[in-house]
Amino acid sequence: MNTPTLQVVQHGPLLRAEHVTIEYAGEHGTVRATEDVSFDVHRGDRFVLLGPSGCGKSTLLKAVGGFIAPRAGSLRLGGKPITAPGPDRIVVFQEFDQLPPWKTVEANVMFPLLAGGMNKPEARERARHWLGKVGLARFADAYPHTLSGGMKARVAIARALAMQPEILLMDEPFAALDALTRRKMQEELQVLWEEIGFTMLFVTHSIEEALVVGNRILLLSPHPGRVRAELNSHQFDLGSAGSVEFQAANERIHRLLFGDAASPSTVSTPAYAHP
C-alpha cells in the first residue's frame, strides 16, 4: 500500500458539520432528511457518506454544496460558514446531463474556469492538462453525446479537478455506470487521488464502493438520516476486495445498517463482481 505524499498543515478539519438537521417541503408536510448529523472532513480525506436510500446522504452533500440551507446546525468550510454554492466546492453529479451538451469536452472543462474569470489560453491549457490526466486528450473536440457513460464521468471529474477546489463533492458519481466501468472508474479515481491528493466527500449506497473508495466512512440510517457509525477504511483498496478483512468490514456495515437479523447473504445490495 503506497501512501500519498501530502504536505498537509493540520489546522483542524477542512469541513466541519455540526448537528446538521435538514428539512424540505414534501407532499405531506415537511420531511426531515437528516437529523443532528456531525462529522469532520480533514484535508486529503476520502470521506464517504454511506447509507440506504432515504438516509439524506445526497441532501447532506447538496447542503455542503450550498444548494440547500440546513434547518439547524452549521456547516463550515475552512472555518467559514457555507451559505451559497461556490467554486471552492465543485460537485460531480451522477446524472450525465451535468455536462452542457452544446460544449465540446474541452469547452466543458474550460467552462467553470472561464466563469471564474480565467483568461482563455490559460483555461485551455489547464483543460488539456486535466483531460490528459483522465485519458481523454484525444476527445477534446468531441461533443458529450458522442461519449460513453464512463467517459462522461471522466469529463466531469476532469472539470472538477481543473478547478482545484478545496473539496470535491461526489454525488454517487458512478451509480449510473455499468459494473465493469464503475470498477475501472474507482481504480482511476484512486490513482488520481494518490497522484494529486485532493480532498473529497463521496456519497454512495454501495458498501463495497465505500470501502474501496474511502478512507473514512460515515454510516447513516434512513428516515430520518442519523449517524449510525463512523468507520475507517483506509486499509482497503480494489485489490483487497476479496480478503477476509474486507468481508468482515462488509458484514459489520451490514449489521450496523440492517441489524443482526439480516446477513449479507439475505440482503441484496448493489454488489459487483469480486476479482
Binding site: 454544496g65 467554486p87 452542457p100 451538451p101 452544446w102 484525444r138 460513453s148 478547478m163
Partner: protein, 296 residues
C-alpha cells in the same frame, strides 16, 4: 416439467489478444470497413419525391386540358409559365419584397414580445400563472380573427398587419420557450450555480442554450403562423400606401381574371414557406441542436 435436456459441458479456452493500437481507447481502427455507403437510399427518397411531384403536375395538366377552362383551372404549364414570367420580369420579387419587409418587422416584434413574456413567466409565480393563462387563451385564437379589430385600432396599413403578425408569433414562441426553460435539467442548473453563475449569466450561459431546441421549434412554428397570417391578411386588404404584398398579388390577379397568376402566386407562397423552413431553420438546427445531440 423436467423435460429440458442438460446442455453439454464444453472445454474452456483462453485467447491471447493482440495489444490494442492506442491506449485502449474504444476508437481503434476497425478491421471491418464501414458498411457500404447507405445514403444512396436517402438520395433516392429525394428523387422519389421530385418524381411524385412531376406525376401530380402531369395529372393536373391532364385534368386541366380535359376540363379546358383557363379561367377556372389553368394548366400546370400555364401556371409554370406565369411563375417564370413573374420571376423574370421581377414583378413577383416586388410583391415578395413588400411581404417580407412587413413580415420581418412583425416577426422581430413578436420575438421581442415573447421574450418579455417568457422572462415574466420564469421570474416569478404570479407572472407564470398570468402567462400560462394568457397563452392558453390566445394561442388557439387564429391571428387573422384579430384583423377586424386591428383595422379598427390601427387603420388600413402596416400597423394592423404588424399587430396580427406579432400575435401569431408571440404566443406559440412563448409557450415553447417557457416549456423549454422548465425542462432544463436540475443538474445543469446546479452545475451552473456551482461555478458561481447567477442571474443573467446563468440565463445566458446555461438556460438559453439548454432551452434552445424548444426555442428553435417555437421560432419555426411562429414563422409558419406568421407567413400564413400575413398572406391571409394581405388578401383581405393587402395594399399599404400603394404597395401590395404577395397576398395582394393573388387577390388582384383574381380580380383581373388572370387565374394562372393566382396559381403562380399560390405556388410562390408554398415555395417560400418551404424554402425558409428547409434552408433557414434546418441549417440553424443542423449547426446547433442536432450537432450537440440535443435533437435527432
Amino acid at each position: 416439467m423436467s423435460a429440458f435436456r442438460e446442455p453439454p459441458i464444453r472445454p474452456e479456452y483462453e485467447l491471447a489478444l493482440p495489444l490494442p493500437s492506442l491506449g485502449g481507447a474504444p476508437l481503434g481502427p476497425s478491421a471491418h470497413p464501414a458498411p457500404a455507403h447507405r445514403p444512396v437510399f436517402g438520395e433516392l427518397a429525394w428523387l422519389r419525391k421530385a418524381a411524385l411531384l412531376l406525376v401530380l403536375a402531369a395529372l393536373w395538366e391532364a385534368l386541366a386540358r380535359w376540363y379546358d377552362n383557363d379561367l377556372l383551372l389553368p394548366t400546370a404549364l400555364a401556371t409554370g409559365r406565369a411563375l417564370v414570367d413573374g420571376i423574370v420580369s421581377g414583378e413577383l420579387f416586388g410583391y415578395v419584397g413588400v411581404s417580407f419587409a412587413v413580415l420581418a418587422q412583425g416577426y422581430v416584434m413578436g420575438i421581442a414580445g415573447a421574450f418579455l413574456l417568457t422572462w415574466l413567466a420564469v421570474s416569478n409565480r404570479v407572472g407564470r400563472e398570468l402567462i400560462e393563462t394568457l397563452t392558453s387563451m390566445f394561442n388557439p385564437l387564429p391571428a387573422i380573427a384579430l384583423l377586424p379589430l386591428a383595422l379598427l385600432w390601427f387603420g388600413l396599413g402596416k400597423g394592423s398587419l404588424i399587430m396580427v403578425l406579432m400575435h401569431s408569433v408571440m404566443w406559440p414562441l412563448t409557450l415553447n420557450a417557457c416549456a423549454g426553460f422548465r425542462a432544463v435539467p436540475e443538474t445543469l442548473r446546479m452545475a451552473g450555480r456551482n461555478y458561481g453563475l447567477g442571474g443573467l449569466r446563468l440565463v445566458l450561459q446555461i438556460l438559453i442554450p439548454a432551452a434552445l431546441p424548444a426555442i428553435l421549434s417555437g421560432l419555426k412554428i411562429g414563422w409558419a403562423f406568421a407567413w400564413r397570417t400575413l398572406i391571409a391578411a394581405e388578401l383581405v386588404f393587402g395594399t399599404t400606401s400603394g404597395q401590395g404584398g404577395l397576398g395582394w398579388f393573388i387577390f388582384q390577379s383574381r380580380n383581373e381574371l388572370f387565374t394562372d397568376k393566382v396559381f403562380a402566386g399560390l405556388a410562390a407562397v408554398i415555395i417560400i414557406g418551404l424554402a425558409v423552413e428547409q434552408v433557414v431553420f434546418q441549417t440553424l438546427e443542423r449547426v446547433t441542436v442536432r450537432r450537440w445531440g440535443m435533437q435527432r
